[in-house]
Protein backbone atom coordinates (compact mmCIF):
# COMPACT_ATOMS: atom_id res chain seq x y z
CA UNK A 1 0.00 0.00 0.00
CA UNK A 2 2.76 2.40 0.99
CA UNK A 3 4.66 1.64 -2.16
CA UNK A 4 1.59 2.16 -4.31
CA UNK A 5 0.94 5.52 -2.65
CA UNK A 6 4.48 6.65 -3.33
CA UNK A 7 4.22 5.56 -6.95
CA UNK A 8 1.01 7.54 -7.51
CA UNK A 9 2.56 10.60 -5.84
CA UNK A 10 5.48 10.27 -8.21
CA UNK A 11 3.21 10.02 -11.26
CA UNK A 12 1.26 13.07 -10.13
CA UNK A 13 4.49 15.00 -9.59
CA UNK A 14 5.76 14.14 -13.07
CA UNK A 15 2.47 15.11 -14.74
CA UNK A 16 2.30 18.40 -12.83
CA UNK A 17 5.97 19.12 -13.51
CA UNK A 18 5.41 18.69 -17.26
CA UNK A 19 2.44 21.07 -17.16
CA UNK A 20 4.38 23.57 -15.06
CA UNK A 21 7.19 23.58 -17.64
CA UNK A 22 4.58 24.59 -20.21
CA UNK A 23 3.61 27.46 -17.87
CA UNK A 24 7.16 28.68 -17.43
CA UNK A 25 8.29 28.22 -21.04
CA UNK A 26 7.13 31.65 -22.31
CA UNK A 27 9.08 33.26 -19.47
CA UNK A 28 12.18 31.23 -20.31
CA UNK A 29 11.77 32.34 -23.93
CA UNK A 30 11.52 35.94 -22.70
CA UNK A 31 14.72 35.75 -20.63
CA UNK A 32 16.70 34.05 -23.41
CA UNK A 33 15.40 36.50 -26.04
CA UNK A 34 16.55 39.36 -23.85
CA UNK A 35 20.11 38.07 -24.31
CA UNK A 36 19.97 37.74 -28.11
CA UNK A 37 20.20 40.12 -31.03
CA UNK A 38 16.85 41.08 -32.57
CA UNK A 39 17.32 39.00 -35.77
CA UNK A 40 18.13 36.03 -33.54
CA UNK A 41 14.89 36.47 -31.59
CA UNK A 42 12.95 35.81 -34.79
CA UNK A 43 15.48 33.50 -36.43
CA UNK A 44 14.29 30.48 -38.37
CA UNK A 45 14.96 27.68 -37.56
CA UNK A 46 14.45 28.71 -33.98
CA UNK A 47 17.14 28.05 -31.41
CA UNK A 48 16.72 28.57 -27.68
CA UNK A 49 20.20 29.67 -26.65
CA UNK A 50 21.79 32.85 -28.05
CA UNK A 51 24.84 32.31 -30.26
CA UNK A 52 26.61 34.87 -28.17
CA UNK A 53 25.08 36.17 -24.94
CA UNK A 54 24.30 39.86 -25.42
CA UNK A 55 24.72 40.89 -21.78
CA UNK A 56 24.97 44.54 -22.76
CA UNK A 57 21.21 44.55 -23.49
CA UNK A 58 20.63 45.08 -19.78
CA UNK A 59 22.92 48.09 -19.29
CA UNK A 60 21.31 49.36 -22.52
CA UNK A 61 17.81 49.43 -21.02
CA UNK A 62 18.89 50.46 -17.50
CA UNK A 63 21.38 53.23 -18.33
CA UNK A 64 20.04 56.71 -17.87
CA UNK A 65 21.30 57.90 -21.23
CA UNK A 66 18.00 57.27 -23.01
CA UNK A 67 14.92 59.31 -22.20
CA UNK A 68 12.94 56.17 -21.43
CA UNK A 69 14.95 53.77 -19.30
CA UNK A 70 14.19 51.09 -16.77
CA UNK A 71 15.86 52.88 -13.85
CA UNK A 72 13.65 55.92 -14.26
CA UNK A 73 10.47 53.91 -14.81
CA UNK A 74 11.24 51.59 -11.89
CA UNK A 75 11.58 54.65 -9.71
CA UNK A 76 8.24 56.00 -10.98
CA UNK A 77 6.44 52.68 -10.54
CA UNK A 78 7.82 52.06 -7.06
CA UNK A 79 6.98 55.63 -6.05
CA UNK A 80 3.37 55.09 -7.16
CA UNK A 81 3.15 51.66 -5.50
CA UNK A 82 4.64 52.85 -2.19
CA UNK A 83 2.49 55.94 -1.72
CA UNK A 84 -0.65 54.22 -3.03
CA UNK A 85 -0.32 51.39 -0.53
CA UNK A 86 0.64 53.49 2.49
CA UNK A 87 -2.17 55.98 1.88
CA UNK A 88 -4.80 53.37 1.12
CA UNK A 89 -4.06 51.16 4.11
CA UNK A 90 -3.76 54.02 6.59
CA UNK A 91 -7.05 55.56 5.47
CA UNK A 92 -8.74 52.16 5.27
CA UNK A 93 -7.52 51.18 8.75
CA UNK A 94 -8.93 54.35 10.29
CA UNK A 95 -12.29 53.89 8.56
CA UNK A 96 -12.45 50.16 9.29
CA UNK A 97 -11.76 50.74 12.99
CA UNK A 98 -14.52 53.34 13.12
CA UNK A 99 -17.01 51.06 11.36
CA UNK A 100 -16.17 48.18 13.69
CA UNK A 101 -15.63 49.79 17.08
CA UNK A 102 -17.14 53.27 17.23
CA UNK A 103 -20.88 53.82 17.50
CA UNK A 104 -21.53 56.93 15.49
CA UNK A 105 -24.69 58.10 13.84
CA UNK A 106 -25.19 57.09 10.21
CA UNK A 107 -22.34 54.62 10.14
CA UNK A 108 -24.36 51.88 8.48
CA UNK A 109 -25.49 54.16 5.67
CA UNK A 110 -21.93 55.33 4.98
CA UNK A 111 -20.65 51.78 5.13
CA UNK A 112 -23.27 50.60 2.61
CA UNK A 113 -22.36 53.54 0.38
CA UNK A 114 -18.69 52.51 0.46
CA UNK A 115 -19.55 48.88 -0.21
CA UNK A 116 -21.81 49.64 -3.15
CA UNK A 117 -18.98 51.60 -4.77
CA UNK A 118 -17.27 48.27 -5.42
CA UNK A 119 -19.67 47.89 -8.35
CA UNK A 120 -18.22 50.94 -10.11
CA UNK A 121 -15.26 49.99 -12.30
CA UNK A 122 -12.49 52.57 -12.45
CA UNK A 123 -12.92 52.70 -16.24
CA UNK A 124 -16.34 54.30 -15.71
CA UNK A 125 -14.95 57.22 -13.70
CA UNK A 126 -11.80 57.81 -15.71
CA UNK A 127 -13.13 60.56 -18.03
CA UNK A 128 -14.29 62.88 -15.23
CA UNK A 129 -11.07 62.11 -13.33
CA UNK A 130 -9.14 63.24 -16.40
CA UNK A 131 -11.10 66.52 -16.48
CA UNK A 132 -10.60 66.93 -12.73
CA UNK A 133 -6.85 66.41 -12.88
CA UNK A 134 -6.51 68.74 -15.86
CA UNK A 135 -8.39 71.40 -13.89
CA UNK A 136 -6.51 71.12 -10.59
CA UNK A 137 -3.09 70.67 -12.22
CA UNK A 138 -2.48 67.04 -11.31
CA UNK A 139 -2.38 65.91 -14.96
CA UNK A 140 1.04 64.58 -15.90
CA UNK A 141 1.88 64.02 -12.25
CA UNK A 142 2.48 60.71 -10.44
CA UNK A 143 -0.04 61.75 -7.78
CA UNK A 144 -2.83 61.47 -10.36
CA UNK A 145 -2.34 57.70 -10.06
CA UNK A 146 -1.66 57.65 -6.30
CA UNK A 147 -4.53 59.72 -4.92
CA UNK A 148 -7.46 57.73 -6.40
CA UNK A 149 -5.92 54.57 -4.92
CA UNK A 150 -6.37 56.00 -1.45
CA UNK A 151 -9.99 54.91 -1.36
CA UNK A 152 -10.03 51.11 -1.29
CA UNK A 153 -13.48 49.65 -0.60
CA UNK A 154 -12.10 46.09 -0.48
CA UNK A 155 -9.44 47.08 2.04
CA UNK A 156 -11.99 48.83 4.25
CA UNK A 157 -14.33 45.84 4.06
CA UNK A 158 -11.65 43.24 4.85
CA UNK A 159 -10.11 45.27 7.69
CA UNK A 160 -13.53 45.94 9.21
CA UNK A 161 -14.18 42.19 9.34
CA UNK A 162 -10.82 41.83 11.04
CA UNK A 163 -11.49 44.56 13.63
CA UNK A 164 -14.90 43.08 14.44
CA UNK A 165 -13.11 39.83 15.27
CA UNK A 166 -10.85 41.58 17.80
CA UNK A 167 -12.19 41.41 21.37
CA UNK A 168 -13.70 44.65 22.68
CA UNK A 169 -12.52 43.86 26.24
CA UNK A 170 -9.10 45.20 25.34
CA UNK A 171 -10.71 48.42 24.25
CA UNK A 172 -12.93 48.73 27.34
CA UNK A 173 -9.94 48.21 29.64
CA UNK A 174 -7.97 50.89 27.84
CA UNK A 175 -10.97 53.21 27.97
CA UNK A 176 -11.19 52.86 31.75
CA UNK A 177 -7.53 53.81 31.89
CA UNK A 178 -8.54 57.00 30.10
CA UNK A 179 -7.30 56.19 26.59
CA UNK A 180 -9.15 57.81 23.69
CA UNK A 181 -10.06 56.09 20.43
CA UNK A 182 -6.98 57.37 18.65
CA UNK A 183 -4.66 55.82 21.23
CA UNK A 184 -6.61 52.57 21.36
CA UNK A 185 -6.46 52.41 17.57
CA UNK A 186 -2.79 53.28 17.16
CA UNK A 187 -1.32 51.43 20.15
CA UNK A 188 -3.59 48.43 20.68
CA UNK A 189 -5.72 47.62 17.65
CA UNK A 190 -3.58 48.52 14.61
CA UNK A 191 -0.63 46.29 15.63
CA UNK A 192 -3.05 43.37 15.93
CA UNK A 193 -4.08 43.65 12.27
CA UNK A 194 -0.59 42.95 10.93
CA UNK A 195 -1.60 39.67 9.25
CA UNK A 196 -4.51 41.29 7.41
CA UNK A 197 -2.34 44.25 6.43
CA UNK A 198 0.30 41.97 4.90
CA UNK A 199 -2.39 40.31 2.73
CA UNK A 200 -3.71 43.66 1.64
CA UNK A 201 -0.23 44.99 0.87
CA UNK A 202 0.31 42.04 -1.46
CA UNK A 203 -3.02 42.51 -3.24
CA UNK A 204 -2.49 46.26 -3.53
CA UNK A 205 1.03 45.72 -4.83
CA UNK A 206 -0.14 43.39 -7.61
CA UNK A 207 -2.88 45.72 -8.78
CA UNK A 208 -0.77 48.86 -8.50
CA UNK A 209 2.25 47.33 -10.25
CA UNK A 210 0.00 46.11 -13.06
CA UNK A 211 -1.84 49.38 -13.51
CA UNK A 212 -1.70 50.37 -17.16
CA UNK A 213 -4.78 52.27 -18.32
CA UNK A 214 -4.50 55.26 -15.97
CA UNK A 215 -0.75 55.85 -16.42
CA UNK A 216 -1.39 55.65 -20.16
CA UNK A 217 -3.93 58.46 -19.82
CA UNK A 218 -2.52 60.59 -17.00
CA UNK A 219 1.26 60.32 -17.53
CA UNK A 220 2.04 61.32 -21.13
CA UNK A 221 5.53 62.68 -20.54
CA UNK A 222 8.35 60.19 -20.96
CA UNK A 223 10.16 61.02 -17.76
CA UNK A 224 7.08 59.91 -15.78
CA UNK A 225 6.61 56.58 -17.60
CA UNK A 226 5.89 53.58 -15.40
CA UNK A 227 7.47 50.19 -16.07
CA UNK A 228 4.45 49.12 -18.15
CA UNK A 229 4.65 52.26 -20.27
CA UNK A 230 8.42 51.82 -20.70
CA UNK A 231 7.86 48.32 -22.13
CA UNK A 232 5.25 49.71 -24.50
CA UNK A 233 7.63 52.44 -25.58
CA UNK A 234 10.37 49.89 -26.35
CA UNK A 235 7.82 47.98 -28.45
CA UNK A 236 6.98 51.10 -30.42
CA UNK A 237 10.62 52.08 -30.88
CA UNK A 238 11.35 52.90 -34.50
CA UNK A 239 14.50 50.78 -34.55
CA UNK A 240 12.47 47.72 -33.52
CA UNK A 241 15.06 46.47 -31.06
CA UNK A 242 12.84 43.77 -29.68
CA UNK A 243 15.66 42.15 -27.76
CA UNK A 244 15.59 45.34 -25.68
CA UNK A 245 11.81 45.03 -25.27
CA UNK A 246 12.40 41.58 -23.85
CA UNK A 247 15.17 42.88 -21.58
CA UNK A 248 12.71 45.47 -20.29
CA UNK A 249 10.01 42.83 -19.82
CA UNK A 250 12.45 40.57 -17.97
CA UNK A 251 13.50 43.51 -15.80
CA UNK A 252 9.84 44.08 -14.95
CA UNK A 253 9.05 40.46 -14.10
CA UNK A 254 12.09 38.78 -12.57
CA UNK A 255 12.74 40.96 -9.48
CA UNK A 256 9.06 40.81 -8.55
CA UNK A 257 8.97 37.06 -9.06
CA UNK A 258 11.99 36.60 -6.80
CA UNK A 259 10.37 38.77 -4.15
CA UNK A 260 7.26 36.61 -4.27
CA UNK A 261 9.19 33.34 -4.17
CA UNK A 262 10.95 34.61 -1.05
CA UNK A 263 7.66 35.54 0.62
CA UNK A 264 5.64 32.64 -0.77
CA UNK A 265 4.04 31.84 2.58
CA UNK A 266 2.62 35.34 3.04
CA UNK A 267 1.30 35.90 -0.42
CA UNK A 268 -0.45 32.54 -0.69
CA UNK A 269 -2.24 33.27 2.57
CA UNK A 270 -2.85 36.80 1.40
CA UNK A 271 -4.47 35.74 -1.86
CA UNK A 272 -6.40 32.96 -0.16
CA UNK A 273 -7.93 35.26 2.48
CA UNK A 274 -9.10 37.61 -0.25
CA UNK A 275 -11.17 34.76 -1.65
CA UNK A 276 -12.68 33.70 1.65
CA UNK A 277 -15.54 36.04 2.19
CA UNK A 278 -16.45 37.10 5.72
Amino acid sequence: MKKKERASALIRTVVLALISILFILPLVWMVLSSLKTTPEVFARPFHWLPNKFQWHNYPDVWSTGAEVNMLRSYYNSLYIVLFSIVGQLLIASLAAYAFAKINFKGKNIIFMLFLSSMMIPSQVTIIPRFILFRTIGLYNNLWAIILPAWFGATSIFMLRQFYIGLPSDLMEAAKIDGAGHLRIFAQIMLPLTKAALVSLIILAFISSWNEYLSPLIFLPSKKLFTVAQAIQSYMQDEFKQHNLTMAAATSAIVPVAILFIAGQKYFVEGIATSGVKG
Binding site: A95, I102, P121, M235, F260, A272, G275
Partner: protein, 310 residues
Protein backbone atom coordinates in the same frame (compact mmCIF):
# COMPACT_ATOMS: atom_id res chain seq x y z
CA UNK B 1 -33.25 57.89 41.64
CA UNK B 2 -34.49 61.43 41.62
CA UNK B 3 -35.66 63.18 38.52
CA UNK B 4 -32.68 65.47 38.40
CA UNK B 5 -30.07 62.69 38.49
CA UNK B 6 -31.80 60.95 35.58
CA UNK B 7 -31.66 64.20 33.67
CA UNK B 8 -28.06 64.60 34.68
CA UNK B 9 -27.06 61.13 33.49
CA UNK B 10 -29.04 61.52 30.26
CA UNK B 11 -27.16 64.71 29.59
CA UNK B 12 -23.92 62.96 30.32
CA UNK B 13 -24.91 60.09 28.04
CA UNK B 14 -25.85 62.32 25.14
CA UNK B 15 -22.62 64.23 25.56
CA UNK B 16 -20.73 60.95 25.34
CA UNK B 17 -22.73 59.97 22.25
CA UNK B 18 -21.95 63.31 20.66
CA UNK B 19 -18.31 62.70 21.34
CA UNK B 20 -18.51 59.18 19.86
CA UNK B 21 -20.11 60.71 16.76
CA UNK B 22 -17.37 63.29 16.39
CA UNK B 23 -14.58 60.75 16.82
CA UNK B 24 -16.28 58.39 14.37
CA UNK B 25 -16.59 61.09 11.74
CA UNK B 26 -12.99 62.12 12.27
CA UNK B 27 -11.87 58.53 11.62
CA UNK B 28 -13.84 58.11 8.41
CA UNK B 29 -13.29 61.62 7.02
CA UNK B 30 -10.14 60.80 4.99
CA UNK B 31 -11.87 57.80 3.40
CA UNK B 32 -15.03 59.82 2.80
CA UNK B 33 -13.15 62.64 1.09
CA UNK B 34 -11.25 60.23 -1.16
CA UNK B 35 -14.54 58.45 -1.91
CA UNK B 36 -16.39 61.64 -2.79
CA UNK B 37 -13.63 63.24 -4.86
CA UNK B 38 -12.28 60.27 -6.81
CA UNK B 39 -15.30 57.98 -7.03
CA UNK B 40 -18.73 59.42 -6.26
CA UNK B 41 -18.27 62.76 -7.99
CA UNK B 42 -16.62 61.29 -11.13
CA UNK B 43 -19.30 58.61 -11.27
CA UNK B 44 -22.19 61.10 -11.32
CA UNK B 45 -20.24 63.36 -13.65
CA UNK B 46 -19.87 60.40 -15.99
CA UNK B 47 -23.64 59.84 -15.93
CA UNK B 48 -24.17 63.52 -16.70
CA UNK B 49 -21.60 63.47 -19.52
CA UNK B 50 -23.33 60.51 -21.12
CA UNK B 51 -26.25 62.83 -21.98
CA UNK B 52 -24.01 65.33 -23.75
CA UNK B 53 -22.28 65.72 -27.05
CA UNK B 54 -18.93 67.16 -26.13
CA UNK B 55 -15.47 67.10 -27.60
CA UNK B 56 -12.99 67.86 -24.85
CA UNK B 57 -10.68 69.78 -27.17
CA UNK B 58 -13.39 72.29 -28.11
CA UNK B 59 -13.81 73.57 -24.54
CA UNK B 60 -16.69 73.77 -22.08
CA UNK B 61 -18.70 76.27 -24.14
CA UNK B 62 -19.30 73.70 -26.89
CA UNK B 63 -20.91 71.23 -24.52
CA UNK B 64 -24.36 70.30 -25.79
CA UNK B 65 -27.12 68.45 -23.97
CA UNK B 66 -28.44 65.80 -26.30
CA UNK B 67 -30.57 63.66 -24.02
CA UNK B 68 -30.48 60.02 -25.02
CA UNK B 69 -28.81 60.57 -28.41
CA UNK B 70 -25.59 58.82 -27.40
CA UNK B 71 -27.47 55.74 -26.32
CA UNK B 72 -29.47 55.81 -29.55
CA UNK B 73 -26.18 55.97 -31.44
CA UNK B 74 -24.86 53.00 -29.47
CA UNK B 75 -27.97 51.03 -30.39
CA UNK B 76 -27.57 52.07 -34.02
CA UNK B 77 -23.96 50.93 -34.11
CA UNK B 78 -25.07 47.74 -32.51
CA UNK B 79 -27.84 47.18 -35.06
CA UNK B 80 -25.53 47.95 -37.98
CA UNK B 81 -22.86 45.69 -36.51
CA UNK B 82 -20.36 48.51 -36.41
CA UNK B 83 -17.73 49.51 -33.84
CA UNK B 84 -19.67 49.16 -30.61
CA UNK B 85 -21.13 45.85 -31.77
CA UNK B 86 -17.65 44.45 -32.40
CA UNK B 87 -16.41 45.68 -29.04
CA UNK B 88 -19.30 44.18 -27.10
CA UNK B 89 -19.34 40.86 -28.96
CA UNK B 90 -15.56 40.51 -28.64
CA UNK B 91 -15.74 41.20 -24.92
CA UNK B 92 -18.37 38.49 -24.54
CA UNK B 93 -16.25 36.08 -26.58
CA UNK B 94 -13.27 36.71 -24.28
CA UNK B 95 -15.42 36.19 -21.19
CA UNK B 96 -17.06 33.00 -22.45
CA UNK B 97 -13.82 31.42 -23.64
CA UNK B 98 -11.48 32.36 -20.80
CA UNK B 99 -13.61 32.11 -17.66
CA UNK B 100 -14.78 28.46 -17.79
CA UNK B 101 -11.53 27.15 -19.29
CA UNK B 102 -9.20 28.73 -16.78
CA UNK B 103 -11.42 27.77 -13.83
CA UNK B 104 -11.70 24.14 -14.96
CA UNK B 105 -7.93 23.81 -15.46
CA UNK B 106 -7.23 25.52 -12.13
CA UNK B 107 -9.56 23.15 -10.29
CA UNK B 108 -7.97 20.01 -11.78
CA UNK B 109 -4.47 21.31 -11.04
CA UNK B 110 -5.42 22.31 -7.49
CA UNK B 111 -7.01 18.89 -6.91
CA UNK B 112 -3.84 17.14 -8.06
CA UNK B 113 -1.60 19.47 -6.06
CA UNK B 114 -3.67 18.92 -2.95
CA UNK B 115 -2.87 15.20 -2.95
CA UNK B 116 0.50 13.84 -2.00
CA UNK B 117 2.97 15.43 -4.43
CA UNK B 118 6.71 16.03 -4.31
CA UNK B 119 8.03 19.62 -4.54
CA UNK B 120 4.52 20.96 -3.95
CA UNK B 121 5.64 24.54 -3.26
CA UNK B 122 7.87 24.80 -6.32
CA UNK B 123 5.09 23.49 -8.56
CA UNK B 124 2.52 25.87 -7.09
CA UNK B 125 4.97 28.72 -7.65
CA UNK B 126 5.41 27.79 -11.31
CA UNK B 127 1.65 28.05 -11.87
CA UNK B 128 1.47 31.25 -9.90
CA UNK B 129 4.25 33.36 -11.44
CA UNK B 130 2.30 34.42 -14.57
CA UNK B 131 -0.42 35.90 -12.34
CA UNK B 132 1.96 38.20 -10.45
CA UNK B 133 3.90 39.19 -13.57
CA UNK B 134 3.36 42.52 -15.27
CA UNK B 135 0.46 42.07 -17.71
CA UNK B 136 1.99 44.45 -20.22
CA UNK B 137 5.31 42.57 -20.15
CA UNK B 138 3.52 39.25 -20.73
CA UNK B 139 1.46 40.74 -23.56
CA UNK B 140 4.69 41.85 -25.23
CA UNK B 141 6.08 38.33 -24.86
CA UNK B 142 2.96 36.77 -26.42
CA UNK B 143 2.89 39.30 -29.22
CA UNK B 144 6.45 38.41 -30.24
CA UNK B 145 5.92 34.67 -29.80
CA UNK B 146 2.86 34.67 -32.06
CA UNK B 147 4.36 36.95 -34.71
CA UNK B 148 4.48 35.61 -38.24
CA UNK B 149 8.22 34.95 -37.84
CA UNK B 150 7.93 34.14 -34.14
CA UNK B 151 8.76 31.04 -32.15
CA UNK B 152 5.26 29.51 -32.38
CA UNK B 153 5.23 29.44 -36.15
CA UNK B 154 8.88 28.33 -36.32
CA UNK B 155 7.97 25.40 -34.11
CA UNK B 156 4.91 24.60 -36.23
CA UNK B 157 7.05 24.61 -39.37
CA UNK B 158 9.62 22.30 -37.84
CA UNK B 159 6.72 20.03 -36.86
CA UNK B 160 5.86 19.77 -40.55
CA UNK B 161 3.09 22.35 -40.92
CA UNK B 162 4.13 24.13 -44.09
CA UNK B 163 1.97 27.26 -43.91
CA UNK B 164 1.30 28.28 -40.33
CA UNK B 165 -1.25 31.10 -40.02
CA UNK B 166 -0.46 34.74 -39.42
CA UNK B 167 -2.12 34.91 -36.01
CA UNK B 168 -2.70 38.64 -35.83
CA UNK B 169 -3.88 39.18 -39.40
CA UNK B 170 -6.28 36.29 -39.63
CA UNK B 171 -9.65 37.57 -38.35
CA UNK B 172 -10.76 34.22 -37.01
CA UNK B 173 -7.50 33.53 -35.19
CA UNK B 174 -6.46 36.90 -33.81
CA UNK B 175 -8.24 36.31 -30.52
CA UNK B 176 -6.34 33.12 -29.77
CA UNK B 177 -3.09 34.68 -28.43
CA UNK B 178 -5.13 36.93 -26.15
CA UNK B 179 -7.38 34.12 -24.94
CA UNK B 180 -4.35 31.94 -24.17
CA UNK B 181 -2.65 34.80 -22.35
CA UNK B 182 -5.69 35.50 -20.17
CA UNK B 183 -6.17 31.82 -19.31
CA UNK B 184 -2.47 31.42 -18.54
CA UNK B 185 -2.38 34.36 -16.12
CA UNK B 186 -5.77 33.72 -14.48
CA UNK B 187 -5.00 30.14 -13.47
CA UNK B 188 -2.45 31.14 -10.82
CA UNK B 189 -5.00 33.12 -8.82
CA UNK B 190 -7.78 30.57 -9.20
CA UNK B 191 -5.45 27.75 -8.23
CA UNK B 192 -4.49 29.36 -4.92
CA UNK B 193 -8.12 30.07 -4.05
CA UNK B 194 -9.11 26.50 -4.93
CA UNK B 195 -6.25 25.00 -2.91
CA UNK B 196 -7.37 26.78 0.23
CA UNK B 197 -10.98 25.74 -0.44
CA UNK B 198 -9.94 22.11 -0.93
CA UNK B 199 -8.18 22.12 2.42
CA UNK B 200 -11.56 22.77 4.02
CA UNK B 201 -13.14 19.65 2.53
CA UNK B 202 -13.24 17.21 5.48
CA UNK B 203 -11.02 14.16 4.98
CA UNK B 204 -13.75 11.96 6.48
CA UNK B 205 -15.83 12.43 3.33
CA UNK B 206 -13.05 11.02 1.16
CA UNK B 207 -12.58 8.14 3.60
CA UNK B 208 -16.28 7.38 3.42
CA UNK B 209 -16.06 7.41 -0.38
CA UNK B 210 -13.06 5.07 -0.17
CA UNK B 211 -15.10 2.62 1.89
CA UNK B 212 -17.84 2.75 -0.74
CA UNK B 213 -15.18 1.83 -3.27
CA UNK B 214 -15.16 5.12 -5.20
CA UNK B 215 -12.26 5.70 -7.57
CA UNK B 216 -10.25 8.88 -7.85
CA UNK B 217 -12.40 10.30 -10.64
CA UNK B 218 -15.62 9.48 -8.80
CA UNK B 219 -14.37 11.14 -5.63
CA UNK B 220 -13.53 14.25 -7.62
CA UNK B 221 -16.95 14.30 -9.31
CA UNK B 222 -19.20 13.42 -6.37
CA UNK B 223 -17.31 14.79 -3.34
CA UNK B 224 -14.93 17.57 -4.39
CA UNK B 225 -16.95 19.28 -7.08
CA UNK B 226 -20.14 19.87 -5.04
CA UNK B 227 -18.18 20.94 -1.95
CA UNK B 228 -16.15 23.60 -3.74
CA UNK B 229 -19.17 24.94 -5.65
CA UNK B 230 -19.33 28.18 -3.60
CA UNK B 231 -15.69 28.83 -4.49
CA UNK B 232 -16.42 28.09 -8.14
CA UNK B 233 -19.29 30.55 -8.07
CA UNK B 234 -17.11 33.19 -6.45
CA UNK B 235 -14.36 32.69 -9.04
CA UNK B 236 -16.82 32.85 -11.94
CA UNK B 237 -18.08 36.22 -10.69
CA UNK B 238 -14.61 37.65 -10.04
CA UNK B 239 -13.26 36.45 -13.39
CA UNK B 240 -16.35 37.60 -15.32
CA UNK B 241 -16.00 41.11 -13.92
CA UNK B 242 -12.28 41.12 -14.70
CA UNK B 243 -12.76 39.86 -18.25
CA UNK B 244 -15.37 42.50 -19.05
CA UNK B 245 -12.70 45.07 -18.23
CA UNK B 246 -10.11 43.47 -20.54
CA UNK B 247 -7.83 46.14 -21.95
CA UNK B 248 -4.05 45.90 -21.59
CA UNK B 249 -3.45 42.65 -23.45
CA UNK B 250 -5.55 43.76 -26.44
CA UNK B 251 -4.07 47.24 -26.52
CA UNK B 252 -0.51 45.89 -26.46
CA UNK B 253 -1.10 43.15 -29.01
CA UNK B 254 -2.83 45.44 -31.52
CA UNK B 255 -0.16 48.12 -31.07
CA UNK B 256 1.20 49.25 -34.41
CA UNK B 257 -1.30 47.36 -36.54
CA UNK B 258 -3.04 49.77 -38.87
CA UNK B 259 -6.55 48.34 -38.79
CA UNK B 260 -8.06 47.77 -35.38
CA UNK B 261 -9.15 44.22 -35.99
CA UNK B 262 -9.54 43.47 -32.32
CA UNK B 263 -11.37 45.54 -29.74
CA UNK B 264 -13.17 45.25 -26.43
CA UNK B 265 -15.50 47.51 -24.49
CA UNK B 266 -12.69 49.28 -22.62
CA UNK B 267 -10.50 49.49 -25.73
CA UNK B 268 -13.44 51.17 -27.50
CA UNK B 269 -14.11 53.55 -24.58
CA UNK B 270 -10.40 54.43 -24.48
CA UNK B 271 -10.28 55.07 -28.23
CA UNK B 272 -13.41 57.25 -28.22
CA UNK B 273 -12.36 59.20 -25.12
CA UNK B 274 -8.62 59.64 -25.49
CA UNK B 275 -8.17 58.98 -29.20
CA UNK B 276 -10.92 61.27 -30.51
CA UNK B 277 -11.86 63.10 -27.28
CA UNK B 278 -15.57 62.37 -27.76
CA UNK B 279 -16.16 62.50 -24.02
CA UNK B 280 -19.96 62.44 -24.22
CA UNK B 281 -20.19 59.33 -26.36
CA UNK B 282 -17.38 57.57 -24.48
CA UNK B 283 -19.14 58.28 -21.17
CA UNK B 284 -22.30 56.70 -22.57
CA UNK B 285 -20.31 53.63 -23.60
CA UNK B 286 -18.81 53.43 -20.12
CA UNK B 287 -22.35 53.39 -18.72
CA UNK B 288 -22.98 50.21 -20.69
CA UNK B 289 -19.93 48.69 -19.03
CA UNK B 290 -21.24 49.82 -15.65
CA UNK B 291 -24.65 48.23 -16.23
CA UNK B 292 -23.03 44.93 -17.25
CA UNK B 293 -20.87 44.87 -14.11
CA UNK B 294 -23.92 45.83 -12.03
CA UNK B 295 -25.90 42.91 -13.47
CA UNK B 296 -23.09 40.45 -12.70
CA UNK B 297 -22.91 41.77 -9.13
CA UNK B 298 -26.68 41.42 -8.69
CA UNK B 299 -26.50 37.84 -9.97
CA UNK B 300 -23.78 37.35 -7.38
CA UNK B 301 -26.04 38.59 -4.56
CA UNK B 302 -28.96 36.45 -5.72
CA UNK B 303 -26.75 33.43 -6.31
CA UNK B 304 -24.95 33.62 -2.97
CA UNK B 305 -28.17 32.88 -1.12
CA UNK B 306 -28.70 29.73 -3.15
CA UNK B 307 -25.13 28.56 -3.43
CA UNK B 308 -23.30 29.27 -0.26
CA UNK B 309 -24.40 26.27 1.73
CA UNK B 310 -23.63 22.65 1.21
Amino acid sequence: MSNSTIKESRKHFSRMQRQENLVGYAFITPALIAFLVFLAFPFFASIALSFTKWNFLSGWSKLQWVGLDNFAKILQQFAKKRRFYDALINTFVYAVTTVPTSIAIALVLAYMLNNKVYCKKALRMAFFIPYISSAVALSAVFKFMFRDDGVINSTLISLGIANPPDWFVNQSLNKIPIILLVIWTAIGYELVIYMSALQNVPASLYEAADIDGAGSAQKFWYVTLPLVSPTTFYLVIVRLIASFKIFSSINIMTLGSAAKTNTSLVVEIYAEAFGSYNFGFAAAESMVLFVIILLITLINFAGQKKWVHY
